[in-house]
């Protein structure tokens, strides 16, 4: 019963939205907003030109590269900062200062540093994901109940075994939540990052369609693609939260 509702109700909402959208465009005869039919036609055109696949692939590549780098560096740094007091005291103010700077503010510099290449958007995506990952991982280590660590020590675990058998499993659920949020941010940063320095990808599609001929049907088609892929990525990452060894950390069931 619940499962069926979880599929039918969202579809119903989407249907209502599409219908409302379609008729408001038709009735107002607006020229600056496409109807759903125009958008579908735009998507078909993109597919026909072979751009749909190649732009999506390029965007996914940039996000995976920037995001993976952020995970590979951010998780270990977060663990170190969560566990050892001195490094945390030393660099935490710096991190808290860097964090509110939007990755987009780095755009001018990244263009100078990396030129017209994939590296510029990858760098911006990395920045967008890195700080949230560091901070959430650090907090997850700090929030490990001291009892778990005491019990681990009591049973005679070496520091390495303590990390592997206690700290790591204890922080895993929170770290996964942090990774999921960071992936969302990476995907948001992507669009803006692709508006500079590159000539492919979904962000480029949006800015290029507007600049070259005011093709608002393609602009909205690009937005739609970004939304759909973002949803798929989130669903994919959420699946990890169902693993038995981390399920205890998610009390939503």
């Amino acid at each position: 019963m619940k499962d069926r509702e979880a599929v039918i109700l969202p579809l119903l909402a989407a249907g209502v939205l599409l219908t409302g959208w379609h008729f408001s465009v038709v009735w107002t005869h607006t020229q600056i907003f496409p109807s759903p039919v125009d958008v579908v036609r735009g998507l078909a055109e993109l597919m026909h030109k072979g751009l749909l696949g190649s732009y999506t692939r390029d965007s996914l590549y940039r996000v995976s590269a920037g995001y993976s780098l952020a995970v590979i560096l951010g998780v270990p740094i977060g663990i170190i900062l969560g566990w050892y007091e001195l490094p945390a005291i030393t660099v935490n103010p710096l991190i808290q200062m860097m964090r509110p700077i939007s990755p987009l503010a780095w755009m001018p510099l990244s263009v100078i540093w990396f030129g017209v290449s994939d590296l510029a958007p990858i760098f911006l995506i990395f920045l967008g994901a890195f700080f949230p990952i560091v901070v959430s991982t650090m907090n997850s280590v700090r929030n490990v109940p001291p009892m778990y660590v005491q019990a681990g020590r009591n049973f005679g675990l070496s520091p390495a075994a303590l990390f592997r058998r206690v700290i790591f499993p204890a922080i895993l659920p929170r770290v996964l939540s942090g990774l999921r949020i960071a992936l969302g941010i990476a995907w948001i940063v992507l669009v803006a990052a692709e508006m500079i320095a590159v000539d492919s990808g979904l962000g480029y599609l949006i800015i290029d369609s507007r600049n070259a001929g005011k093709r608002y049907d393609l602009v909205v088609a690009g937005m739609f693609l970004i939304g759909i892929i973002g949803l798929c990525l989130d669903l994919l990452v959420r699946r990890t939260e169902k693993l038995r060894s981390v399920r205890w950390g998610f009390r939503t069931e």
Binding site: P145, M147, Y148, Q150, A151, R153, N154, F155, G156, A161, R165, V166, P169, A170, L172, R244, S245, V246, R247, W248, G249
Partner: protein, 263 residues
């Protein structure tokens, strides 16, 4: 009444297991120093069941943490079998309220947690034995979130017993349980103690609980905690909770703490 005065040195009939000498503990917080434990001296014999009884926040848990090696005293000395305590040790296991079980491991995984040095078959046999002892058969693959509070508590006791320690430290282990489960758990603990004969140090603020369980009750004062009196509970198990001797000992402790035994 067979109560004895402060700093009782055990009779030499059985071996002294845990020895505490002139222990002081002072915490530094916000530039102020707070004295938590003052001149604690105590001997605990091998296989003895001792309750540390005192009001909430008096420092009895601090004392237990020092004995377990998690905290260092400001001054004084703790020796276990003649060896000074320098840190936590698998021969002496600390049992938290059920919150100490690892939620990412199954019942089996938790009980086997400390057995990483044993070969696989031996570990499996040990795990099975203790699952049976604490009555968790059928829940081997269950995760702690699927267990009741009492079951989690038994799981933590089983995890501690599995590594075959000499001493168990229990810090208000039944404090979070409902009163019926708490009564059942006391019976379980006594049954396990009678088969395994570990030395047990049990912290509680429940006078009835201490008189039901312990061979000796160490009555502590409010902070800074000192030992007010050590009471011998000379009633054989199973104890009749309406016997004259039980009521006499219990009321003696109520009086010692300065509580009118009336509601």
């Amino acid at each position: 009444m067979t109560t004895k005065s402060v700093a009782v040195v055990a009779e030499l009939a059985t071996e002294v297991k845990v020895s505490v000498r002139n222990l002081d503990m002072i915490f530094q917080t916000d530039g102020k120093s707070v004295s938590v434990l003052e001149r604690i001296s105590l001997d605990i014999r091998e296989g003895e069941f001792v309750c540390l009884l005192g009001p909430s926040g008096c420092g009895k848990s601090t004392l237990l943490n020092i004995l377990a090696g998690f905290l260092r005293p400001t001054s004084g000395e703790v020796t276990i079998q003649g060896e000074p305590v320098r840190g936590p040790d698998p021969r002496r296991i600390f049992v938290f309220q059920e919150r100490g079980v690892f939620p990412w491991l199954t019942v089996e995984g938790n009980i086997g947690f400390g057995l990483f040095k044993l070969p696989k078959e031996e570990r499996a046999a040990r795990v099975a034995y203790y699952i049976k002892m604490v009555g968790l058969e059928g829940f081997e693959q269950a995760y702690p979130s699927e267990l009741s509070g009492g079951m989690k508590q038994r799981l933590e006791v089983a995890r501690a017993l599995a590594v075959n320690p000499d001493v168990l430290f229990l810090d208000e282990p039944f404090g979070a349980l409902d009163s019926i489960t708490r009564l059942l758990m006391r019976g379980e603990l006594l049954r396990i103690w009678e088969t395994e004969r570990k030395t047990i140090l049990f912290v509680t603020h429940d006078i009835e609980e201490s008189v039901q369980l312990a061979d000796r009750v160490v009555v502590m004062s409010a902070r800074p905690a000192t030992i007010r009196r050590v009471v011998d509970i000379d009633i054989p198990h199973p104890r009749d909770l309406s016997s004259r001797r039980y009521i006499e000992l219990r009321d003696g402790i109520f009086e010692e703490i300065g509580l009118a035994h009336k509601v």
